[in-house]
């Protein structure tokens, strides 16, 4: 198991975890795996910057900006996954709009590793 950690991380990335099939995502693009791969490329390229932005806004208690970043990240990831970390992001957006910094921190602590794991799995689509 590869350990990937950052301050406050609760979980570590487990590369042996079952991989997503992204069958729903493929269905949404009418089976066009080339399109899905191209979209995966963009999401992988752009998502890290948004994750870092979100982290910064949360640390600085900039809740409005945090909500916007979480919204953007949720949009990007929802193409590939609509459950799990995407639902967590929704809860984070709600908490950020309520200016609930503690709740936001708690949710982020819980879901960041899952988000990064998802991005890693999405990146595997680029090779299909």
């Amino acid at each position: 198991m590869i350990q990937r950690s950052y301050p406050g991380a609760e979980k570590s990335l487990d590369i042996n975890a079952p991989k997503r099939q992204f069958s729903d995502a493929l269905g949404r693009v009418a089976g066009d795996s080339e399109l899905l791969a191209a979209m995966a490329m963009f999401v992988v390229e752009d998502s890290q910057e948004v994750i870092d932005e979100l982290q910064t806004h949360l640390q600085c208690h900039e809740m409005t900006q945090a909500a916007a970043s979480a919204h953007k990240l949720k949009g990007m990831l929802s193409t590939f996954e609509t459950a799990g970390p995407v639902i967590d992001l929704h809860e984070l957006i709600v908490a950020a709009k309520e200016n609930n910094t503690e709740e936001c921190a708690r949710i982020w602590k819980r879901c960041r590793i899952e988000i990064e794991s998802l991005v890693v799995e999405i990146s595997s689509l680029r090779q299909t």
Partner: protein, 553 residues
């Protein structure tokens, strides 16, 4: 040849727009025009560019404003068959694009990095009120999405987006854009007739006769029977008789005789004494007593029970009655105006209605014509209901209705008469998200009526030999291909596809008797696409189904 992204590579001499060219087809007497159409398939090859360009044949333009690049990619791929797609990463970029180019549809993310999507939407509306804007949001139930719809957005799509629903919705928006780009045939801002105090709307000869009859009898203290189909305005006539009578300063009361059970109707009309029946806890004053000196409108009098008919007759003859369960004879001075849509004469013959009551009521009869017999008034009524609905339903951006809608509504047979027309107009105003009401919003029965009427204008019963002619025409495909090979054509695929398409469309439209909805369903394409093809191939529906130019077998 295909580029790396799977789309056909454009040749260096190929211009990136639609064009027209003329070809000869083996089964046609004359040349026809076709589109140089990338919509057919992304795998079409050998498309010949032409110097001719027509604004009317350009691909629709769609602007996608979203800071997510993957959305740009999905939109471009999904919409490539039907539109040219321009993408923007921010609101400012999007506004710049709108200022520089004309678009047919905008796909707008609700949350943008530099501006709130709703604010952006309002700016777009200021630039072009008829431009359909489709919101995209990852929060499908967000208050912003709901507010956007209330403000008049065309629709919204929940993320994650799917290719097929995205394409279908954008196609629909393009169609709406095309239809609402027609001039407004009827403005929604006409002064309502009620603003001038007029109760009735109508200038047809039949309605003028009604007005004259009202004028003749309103001042007389005689009972009046108003006859007409449901929804023709019988209560309006009753009120007009009252308002123009010398009783206009007294009461006007209305009773719907079909709405109450017989025993309750009797009590409603004549009142009852305490204890007259179970539940009669106290004395009740009936309408005949309440309306003393005034006018009583008995609507749907054909549904009145015989026992109640007898009591009403007595009031008409003697101006006397008793309350239910009462012994005291009471007097009343009431003018009775009755209305019915039932055949009272037949009911008399069947023993369901009193002949003597009919004679009493029939002294003066005013016949209200059905709406289909006063087609000239449909436009006036539409105008009135449209402006009223615009005000009441708070639709300030509504401009009016398209000429096609006016035509369809004028031609419709209106089984529910004016009441139905009013309901249809109100529903259209409520449902419309564009400034101009277009045929797609009309109720299904009206659209179907219009389609069937188009067929009935011609011969819908195609003789068998005409169907055979179509089959024969379709058999020319091998000959066409051989000829194109001989001519060393570099457009074989497109020409063959066009030939096949024309044959299939004609055959299916003949199968459905020209019904485009059914034909689109059988073909597995949208109605908009079918309509486009009908126009492209000049398929004529007025005289059965055929090409404008006859087809040789």
């Amino acid at each position: 040849m295909f580029s790396a992204n799977g789309f056909p590579a454009r040749r260096s001499d190929q211009k990136p727009s639609m064009s027209l060219k003329k070809i000869h087809m083996p089964a046609l007497e004359e040349t026809v025009s076709i589109h140089d159409n990338r919509k057919v398939s992304k795998y079409s090859i050998g498309v010949q560019p032409s110097e001719d360009r027509s604004e009317s044949t350009r691909m629709p333009n769609v602007l996608v404003i979203d800071d997510d690049r993957s959305i740009h990619l999905l939109a471009q791929k999904a919409l490539a068959p039907i539109a040219e797609v321009t993408v923007s990463l921010s609101a400012d970029e999007g506004l710049k694009a709108l200022a520089e180019k004309s678009f047919d549809v905008v796909l707008l993310d609700i949350v943008l990095p530099d501006r709130n999507g709703l604010a952006m939407y309002c700016e777009i509306r200021e630039m072009d009120r008829r431009l359909p804007v489709i919101f995209m949001t990852v929060e499908a139930n967000s208050q912003t999405a709901i507010e956007a719809m209330q403000l008049g957005a065309f629709d919204y799509l929940a993320k994650p987006l799917s290719v097929d629903p995205l394409r279908d919705l954008v196609e629909k928006a393009i169609e709406q854009r095309e239809m609402s780009s027609v001039p407004v045939a009827m403005s929604a801002d006409e002064e309502a007739s009620t603003a001038t105090g007029e109760l009735f709307i109508g200038r047809s000869k039949t309605m003028l006769n009604v007005f004259k009859a009202i004028g003749r009898v309103s001042q007389q203290d005689v009972p009046v029977l108003i006859r007409g189909e449901s929804g023709t305005g019988k209560e309006l006539v009753a009120r007009a008789l009252f308002q123009h009578s010398h009783r206009s300063d007294r009461q006007f009361l209305a009773v719907n005789c079909a709405a109450l059970p017989d025993n309750l109707l009797e009590s409603e009309l004549f009142g009852h004494e305490k204890g007259a029946f179970t539940g009669a806890e106290s004395r009740r004053i009936g309408k005949f007593e309440q309306c003393n000196g005034g006018t009583l409108f008995l609507d749907e009098i054909g549904d009145m029970a015989p026992s109640v008919q007898a009591k009403v007759l007595r009031v008409l003859q003697e101006q006397r009655f008793e309350r239910v369960g009462g012994n005291n004879e009471l007097r009343t001075d009431v003018r009775i105006v009755a209305a019915t849509n039932r055949p009272l004469e037949q009911m008399v013959a069947d023993g369901e209605f009193r002949e003597d009551l009919l004679y009493r009521l029939n002294g003066v009869t005013i016949e209200l014509p059905p709406l289909r017999d006063r087609q000239g008034d449909v436009v006036l009524l539409m105008r009135h209901f449209l402006s009223k609905a615009k005000r009441e339903l708070k639709k300030p951006y509504l401009e009016g209705v398209s000429p096609e809608v006016v035509e369809m509504l004028t031609a419709y047979h209106w089984p529910g008469n004016v009441r139905q027309l009013r309901a249809v107009i109100r529903r259209c105003v409520l449902d419309s998200v564009m400034p101009v009401i277009v045929p797609d919003i009309l109720p299904r029965e009206i659209r179907k009526f219009a389609e069937s009427r188009t067929i009935k204008q011609g011969n819908i019963n195609e003789p068998a030999e005409e169907v055979d002619n179509v089959r024969q025409a379709g058999a020319g495909l091998p000959e066409l291909v051989e000829r194109l090979i001989t001519e060393r054509s570099t457009n074989v695929y497109a020409d063959a596809v066009e030939y096949m398409e024309r044959y299939v469309l004609l055959r299916i439209l003949k199968e459905t008797g020209g019904n485009q909805s059914q034909a689109a369903e059988m073909l597995g394409i949208t109605r908009g696409k079918l309509r486009d093809r009908i126009a492209t191939y000049k398929i004529v529906l007025e005289s059965g189904v055929s090409f404008r130019d006859p087809i040789e077998p």
